[in-house]
């Protein structure tokens, strides 16, 4: 906070009186720049309110950038994550979007299609060096880029696997579905009432992020990625039905449950043996479990193990008048130092190899290095179509119904119909 106000004061003293007046209304003007050599204001929205670690790094970057030159001044406004997308949609409807905004990877195509954001046009040297899942594309055009990616894995205690004679899987040789099933049954017999925590008590985007890669691993998908026009056969084909019957069985057999707390508490308290969860929970588990912690790939359900890719990324709004400045700021911000700071502060995977080495957790031999491998080898982006928000909402509903015992084929057919109706009423979303 103090750093921000200090740099803010520096900037203000350097700025003209007009810029000063504009300061009070971040998000109002996208700064038409003014004649008397003043600075142009670059407005910026983030979803990071309530995440002090992340905000502090943004404030550092913005402070550094504002001091490094005097043509632009970035002014940031942060929103709580829960209300962020609504704020953007409302802002777009009112023609009041900021110049720079961050967004969750899978929603990028929807906003690009709607004309909220413009092609990114950063120096290709920057975007080419990023993890593929840290770059958001729609119709072969780059619209967004992020400093990090997240990854999911199965947490386990080495000692527990050893005691129960369960093989430790690797990315090359993951558990097969049969092995995974057998392991769960063994662990249930060993006294874990519910051996696996997959976070089913959570709601929202988590369902698509966590379970659609499992569906893909089994040979199904959220949508036919060839045409992007129908979910028929992908979401309700025999592979998908088989997967969801197994998924339903996990709950029926008591191997997993939707009770409990969101997060990784059950694993840390040794109430569950295996936890399917994200890199962001790894530090706590490292502290409680220590050397015994294993970070394992998810099981191979037929087509090889898969995890979800794409986290929050940055883009430039279509109505930004100072897009040159916005690009300049973004290029400035992709400095490996900053990326490494995000990685360590947020416990997320740095998006470049350089930053990986700089980071204290994700470099060669660092404790969280396995996540980098998982992300690079197994990550699959959610379908890059404007229909994604609807697909995700339908998928969550169907998944929960199946978990609660609904007929699998019927539920999936209904889901496919809902998705297809929506795609049709939107004239195919430009595909």
């Amino acid at each position: 906070m103090s750093r921000k106000s200090f740099t803010g004061m520096l900037a203000i003293t350097a700025a003209s009186a007009t810029a000063l007046a504009a300061c009070g209304q971040a998000g109002q003007s996208d700064g038409g720049g003014d004649g008397d050599g003043g600075t142009t204001e670059l407005t910026m929205w983030t979803h990071s309110a309530g995440n002090p670690a992340e905000l502090a790094i943004y404030e550092q970057i913005i402070g550094d950038y504002n001091e490094s030159q005097d043509r632009y001044e970035v002014v940031v406004e942060s929103f709580p994550q829960g209300a962020y997308n609504d704020a953007v949609v409302a802002g777009a409807a009112a023609g009041d979007l900021p110049c720079l905004l961050d967004m969750d990877g899978p929603i990028v195509p929807n906003w690009a299609w709607a004309g909220y954001i413009q092609p990114l046009d950063l120096d290709p040297a920057i975007t080419d060096a990023l993890l593929p899942t840290a770059v958001g594309e729609y119709q072969d055009e780059v619209y967004s880029a992020g400093y990090w990616d997240a990854a999911l894995s199965v947490f386990a205690r080495g000692s527990v696997l050893e005691e129960n004679g369960i093989r430790v899987p690797t990315v090359e040789e993951p558990w097969t579905r049969e092995e995974f099933d057998a392991a769960l049954t063994t662990l249930q017999g060993a006294g874990y009432a519910t051996p696996l925590d997959i976070g089913a008590e959570d709601a929202g985007e988590w369902w698509s992020y966590a379970y659609s890669p499992m569906l893909q691993s089994a040979g199904g998908d959220l949508i036919d990625r060839e045409s992007m026009l129908t979910a028929e056969g992908a979401l309700n084909g025999p592979e998908a039905v088989e997967f969801f019957e197994w998924f339903q069985g996990l709950f029926e057999r008591g191997l997993a449950s939707n009770a409990g707390t969101i997060g990784n508490e059950e694993f840390n308290n040794d109430e569950v043996a295996l936890s399917y969860t994200g890199v962001w929970n790894a530090l706590d588990s490292l502290e409680t479990v220590g050397e015994d912690l294993l970070i394992l790939p998810p099981p191979d359900l037929g087509e090889g193990p898969k995890i979800g890719g794409a986290s929050w990324q940055w883009g430039i709004s279509a109505e930004c008048e100072a897009s040159e400045g916005a690009r300049e700021y973004l290029e400035f911000s992709f400095d490996p130092q900053y990326i490494a700071a995000f990685a360590d502060g947020q416990v997320v995977i740095p998006a470049t190899a350089e930053a990986e080495e700089l980071s204290e957790m994700f470099g060669e031999g660092d404790p969280l290095q396995p996540f980098v491998e998982l992300s690079q080898q197994l990550a699959l982006e959610r379908p890059p179509t404007p229909a994604y928000p609807i697909i995700s909402s339908v998928f969550e509903r169907a998944g929960k119904d199946i978990m609660n015992g609904a007929d699998v084929q019927e539920t999936l057919d209904q889901a496919v119909q809902e998705i297809d109706t929506n795609i049709e009423s939107n004239d195919g979303y430009g595909f």
Binding site: V89, I390, G405, D427
Partner: protein, 322 residues
């Protein structure tokens, strides 16, 4: 000098005769009435303006939108699609039909139970005892608490290992095994009904109470002189005296019950298996989260018509029959 047309009665005399017939006093009264009208218009203006802005205009907009394929986010302009949205709701959307059924179940249970319970409570706290105000406050606290906060609290209580199940097993010595209230298709809607009644009953208790306090004490005295016992007093004095209150409560509880949304949004998101989805929740889900504004508007319009019809029927059934 002629008078404005509205001052002339239907079987009026010719102009001059009227003018002569009107004495000065009458003319003054007419002018005063006109001025009274004018200030009355000024007094209702703010409310009318707000109602227009936030009720009439949105209803008209929803009406217009419901015949288009308008989307929340789309580069393409909306198209007129006729009655497609309404056909889709009744033929291709099982969730909509479930919402319709659930909304009615909720209302059919909540309206009688909540109004009866509120009346019982009102009669209980309508005593001249010390400390009765404290009870009124206690019953009223849930009403002024945010429904979202209450929903979150009850969600914790309803968990498999939550307060309610812990109580059940403690009281029964472990014999009673509580359900997973919100995740069980048989109990989810019931669980929501219980918490909704608990939250809103205090408000209607206060309304009943104000009705009770308008009944003159002399009537009770007269009834007691005639040897009426407690129940007879209630039947012949209290209940008739609460008539207009009853009509008000019936209509407001019905409208509130039909508009069930926040509890669902916070606690169950319409699940498990659509057992708790409601019309308003479904409209928000479709119109906003699935970005189909036109379809959401159509569902809202259906909801609006249903509520209007029910409210009118209730008004007609409870009209003064004299």
């Amino acid at each position: 000098m002629t008078l404005p047309a509205q001052q002339i009665t239907p079987h009026a005399l010719p102009d001059e005769a009227v003018t002569q017939a009107l004495t000065g006093r009458n003319r003054r009264r007419a002018r005063a009435a006109r001025q009274g009208h004018r200030s009355a218009y000024w007094m209702v203006a703010p409310a009318t303006l707000l109602l227009l802005l936030f009720l009439v205009v949105p209803v008209l907009l929803a009406f217009g939108l419901s015949f288009t394929n308008a989307r929340l986010i789309s580069p393409n302009p909306p198209r007129f699609v006729g009655g497609d949205n309404f056909v889709r709701a009744f033929t291709q959307d099982p969730t909509f039909l479930r919402s319709l059924v659930n909304t009615f179940i909720f209302a059919v249970v909540v309206v009688p139970v909540q109004s009866a319970l509120a009346l019982g409570m009102a009669v209980l706290v309508n005593r001249k005892l010390r400390g009765v105000t404290l009870f009124r406050i206690i019953y009223f606290i849930p009403v002024v608490t945010s429904i979202v906060v209450i929903s979150v609290l009850w969600e914790f209580m309803y968990q498999r290992d939550g307060l309610i199940n812990a109580l059940l097993s403690r009281v029964s010595g472990g014999a009673l095994e509580g359900a997973d209230w919100l995740n069980d298709t048989r109990t989810a809607l019931g669980a929501i009904i219980v918490l909704s009644i608990w939250q809103a009953v205090g408000f209607h208790m206060i309304i009943w109470l104000s009705g009770l306090q308008t009944i003159p004490e002399e009537l009770y005295e007269a009834a007691r002189m005639d040897g009426a016992n407690g129940w007879q007093q209630f039947r012949s004095v209290t209940w008739p005296g609460l008539r207009s209150t009853m009509v008000f409560i019936l209509v407001t509880i019905t409208i509130q019950a039909l508009g069930l949304f926040a509890q669902i949004d916070v606690m169950t998101q319409g699940g498990p298996l659509d057992t708790t989805t409601t019309l308003v929740y479904h409209a928000v889900q479709q119109g906003y989260r699935r970005q189909e504004t036109g379809y959401g508007a159509a569902i809202s319009l259906i909801f609006f018509v249903i509520v209007l019809v029910i409210a009118l029927v209730q008004r007609w059934l409870t009209r003064e029959k004299d």
